[in-house]
Amino acid sequence: MSSLNKSLLIPLIVFILLVITLGVGFSLKDPHILPSELIDRPFPDFQASELHDVDRTLTREDLKGEISLVNVWATWCPNCVLEHPELLRISKEEGVPLYGVNYNDEVIKAQAWLRRYEDPFVFNIVDDNGKLGIDLGVYGAPETFIIDAEGVIQYKHVGPVNRYIFDKEMKPVIEQLRANSVATRTAGVDS
């Protein structure tokens, strides 16, 4: 074997770097899920009617006051049927209010859908042209947001929610927010 010309090792080194890159690619999250751009930003401003009460106008102020979940759903979305039992459970057991955004849908159909599958929502924002969805960076249904008491988005989940996902990913966020708000209140009292 002849003596080694070090510069000829360059291709091998570049290749190893390449392989590491590709290998890492496997550990990355699902390529179809887009992380949210709106984390730590206030819920977008909107003006819309409520699903069951056409004369009532909702704005983002209605979402403030306590930590809550906002679920984007539609009657044309099969996964929304899949996740609905979990939403019902959350609304009854977890002590977090659930608000709905009826996305790119028809009011009559949505009302019938809720009658059929039961209504877990405190109220439902009618987004029949998808504009609120766009402002939220939504690209399909269902998507679920966690908002704090000031109306700032803290977390987003794309896809149907089930018990496992709620317990593993969403509940910790909610508890953290609760802990933070207790801390701020306590600090306020002390200072």
Partner: protein
């Protein structure tokens, strides 16, 4: 039964390629000619068993055997028979069997057609190809078996082939692509075989040139077909999107082009020896990388097979083993190689070096753009970034434009040193091309564009320079026709290849700058004007096809009051897969395409209609075909055959008679 036979045949094929990897190798080490000689038969056996396996899968499709899971997922009883056959390579498992068939075919061909090689060299090359094949066959048997059954309960009918793939394009595009991708295994095997001997003389370059050129020609054809197919099938007039999977085929092509040129220098002048070996390793490595990208799910693409990451891990491991070991072998064995050939600025060698460097830079750009989103996501905590046509066009185009400008001077360059007068003579061609283009652009184009003028001048200048060189070669000869015949196939290959590039450049430039499109709402009787034509919408009727139902539009194309023709765009619904497809109707012609597609019904008999005018778009693919032809005809160069004869008659004779200057 047949499916099981196919499966079994594949296992036998595995045995064959294991034997092919091991037995000749033992023969080489022990200098045992009998063992080395077996390599041919083993290669033939490998091919036969893979072919049987492939044929069995084809039979399963042809006979609508839906108990075979792969057939059930990709076919349907109502599917027209030609698509039942092409459905063999419509999904991951079957297409990889096709890949393996092509590999076994090339292996068999190298064995059968390499009488001129020394026995030792032939055994080495075939052993390498056998070793590569082990990975492919094992992959199929262990992770992607197309013969798996879904007994005892199997579907009464299949899922149907994705309607996008029910098309002539699918029948030819993947086989051509694989012939190219997998064909680069041959120069790779030659390079590795040469490295193992420790002797990087230029003989290996001579042996691998026809194989490399053939594989490169097929890859060119495959990419051209893919672009053409996307254009007429996807319904929005685009023909290249810099999609990850498109890039996966383009990168080996770019490096392959560098390899084709570099081999010439190594063969003729013994220069760039180790660089050419490295290019051969790169080209095939990029083919493997392409296979990985398409099948692992690591990158998002509408082209990609939906495969799980486990299969991706297998391919990645294989990649690491094969390429890692080749590059290590390269680093150690190529270290002592030095050529003492000298050449000047402006010599053919220096031109080829420019060609190589620019092509490798352009391939690196494509690689960077394709993989950067992965890197970004890792480094920046899951944030995603997109890299698309704007990026690639901005960086890639200037590099290749520089390359094209150098291409003008390539036919006139000479080995070792090109007299300066040769370069000076080109001024005439440049000025002439410029003025011709200026007139054409001013006369024919809708609006003047300086970029179009520059780019097209370069393209025309390339053609002029080729023409001048051809004329110069026959100018002083008494019998001009005989002189034309005396030129080698390699020379004509160069002419066709470079001509093809120039033609494609013209097509790309004109179509990018001067295409027109309109999306309009039309009711029956409405007319729209575009590019001097009038398009009259006559309404929509219902039609039925063999496995679809369609809304069929009727659009008259009118010029100067006369109806030239009628176009029938369709919106098809395929019930078996619930897919809706837009089938555009195109009126093709040499200088312009007219393209009509149906959008959505808008109520009250109104429809959204898209109309495209695409000038010179066919030149893109016409150029691609010329390039491929250029690659293919060099295979028939007499010098490659002459050397074999010389070797058989006079074993001590050095390389064959010096041929033409090409």
């Amino acid at each position: 039964m047949i499916a099981e036979l196919g499966h079994f045949s594949l296992i036998l094929a595995l045995g064959m390629c294991v034997a092919l990897a091991i037995i000749p190798t033992v023969g080489i080490v022990q200098k045992n000619t009998q063992l080395m000689n077996i390599s041919n038969s083993l290669a033939a056996g490998f091919f036969v068993f893979v072919a049987i396996s492939f044929f069995c899968l084809g039979y399963a499709f042809w006979s609508d055997d839906f108990s075979v899971q792969y057939v059930a997922l990709n076919s349907n009883s109502a599917l027209p028979v030609q698509y039942k056959i092409s459905a063999i390579w419509g999904g991951h498992e079957g297409s990889f069997l096709l890949w393996t068939l092509v590999m076994s075919g090339w292996t068999f061909a190298v064995g059968a057609l390499s009488g001129g090689l020394t026995l030792d060299m032939r055994a080495r090359v075939l052993a390498v190809m056998g070793a590569l094949s082990i990975g492919f066959v094992l992959f199929i048997l262990l992770t992607s078996n197309p013969f798996d059954r879904t007994l005892p309960v199997y579907p009464a009918d299949g899922n149907d082939l994705n309607p996008l793939l029910q098309d002539f394009g699918l029948i030819v595009h993947p086989p051509m692509l694989y012939m190219g991708y997998v064909g680069f295994a041959v120069p790779f095997a030659f390079a590795i075989a040469t490295l193992t001997t420790g002797n990087l003389d230029s003989a290996w370059a001579r042996w691998s040139r026809p194989w490399t050129n053939a594989a490169w020609g097929f890859l060119t054809l495959g990419i051209t077909l893919g672009s053409w197919w996307a254009y007429y099938e996807l319904g929005w007039g685009g023909w290249w999107f810099w999609d990850a999977v498109e890039n996966a085929s383009f990168m080996p092509w770019l490096v392959g082009t560098a390899l084709v040129h570099s081999l010439a220098a190594t063969e003729k002048r013994g220069v760039f020896k180790s660089w050419t070996v490295l290019l051969a390793i790169f080209a095939f490595s990029l083919s493997l990388l392409g296979a990985f990208l398409v099948r692992s799910g690591v990158l998002t693409s509408v082209h990609a097979f939906a495969v799980d990451p486990e299969r991706g891990m297998y391919i990645l491991t294989y990649l690491v083993l094969i390429i890692g070991s080749s590059l290590t072998l390269y680093a150690f064995k190529a270290s002592g190689v030095k050529s003492d050939a000298d050449f000047e600025w402006g010599s053919r060698e220096s031109m080829l070096l420019v060609n190589n460097l620019l092509l490798v830079v352009s391939a690196a750009i494509v690689l960077l753009g394709t993989l950067y989103p992965l890197v970004y996501e890792t480094l920046y905590d899951g944030k995603k970034i997109s890299i698309g046509p704007p990026y690639f066009n901005t960086l890639f185009v200037p590099v290749v434009m520089l390359l094209f400008t150098f291409m003008v001077f390539s036919p006139l360059s000479r080995w070792k040193k090109t007299p300066v007068q040769e370069f000076k003579k080109q001024w005439v061609g440049m000025v002439a091309s410029f003025f011709v283009m200026l007139c054409l652009v001013l006369a024919l184009a809708k609006e003047f564009s300086f970029v179009v003028l520059l780019v097209n001048t370069v393209a025309l200048w390339i053609i002029v320079s080729l023409g001048k060189d051809l004329i110069a070669k026959v100018a002083n000869k008494a019998d001009k026709v005989a002189a034309l015949f005396k030129q080698t196939m390699s020379y004509y290959g160069m002419i066709l290849g470079h001509l093809g590039i120039a033609v494609s450049i013209l097509g790309v430039c004109i179509t990018v700058y001067y295409s027109e499109e309109r999306d309009v709402r039309m009711v029956p009787g409405d007319s729209v004007e575009l590019a001097g034509y009038e398009f009259r919408f006559n309404g929509v009727s219902k039609e039925t096809g063999p496995n679809y139902m369609a809304d069929r539009g009727d659009v008259d194309v009118i010029q100067e009051g006369k109806v030239l023709l009628t176009l029938y765009p369709e919106k098809r619904f395929y019930p078996a897969s619930s897919n809706v497809m837009t089938e555009a109707d195109i009126e093709p012609s040499l200088f312009r395409d007219l393209f009509v597609a149906l959008g959505e019904p808008l109520g009250n008999k109104a429809w959204a209609v898209r109309i495209h005018y695409k000038p010179f778009v066919r030149w893109i693919w016409f150029g691609g075909v010329l390039i491929a032809m250029g690659g293919f005809i060099t295979v028939f160069d007499r010098r490659y055959r002459r050397v074999k004869v010389a070797k058989q008659e006079k074993p001590n004779h050095a390389d064959g008679v010096a041929g033409a200057t090409a």
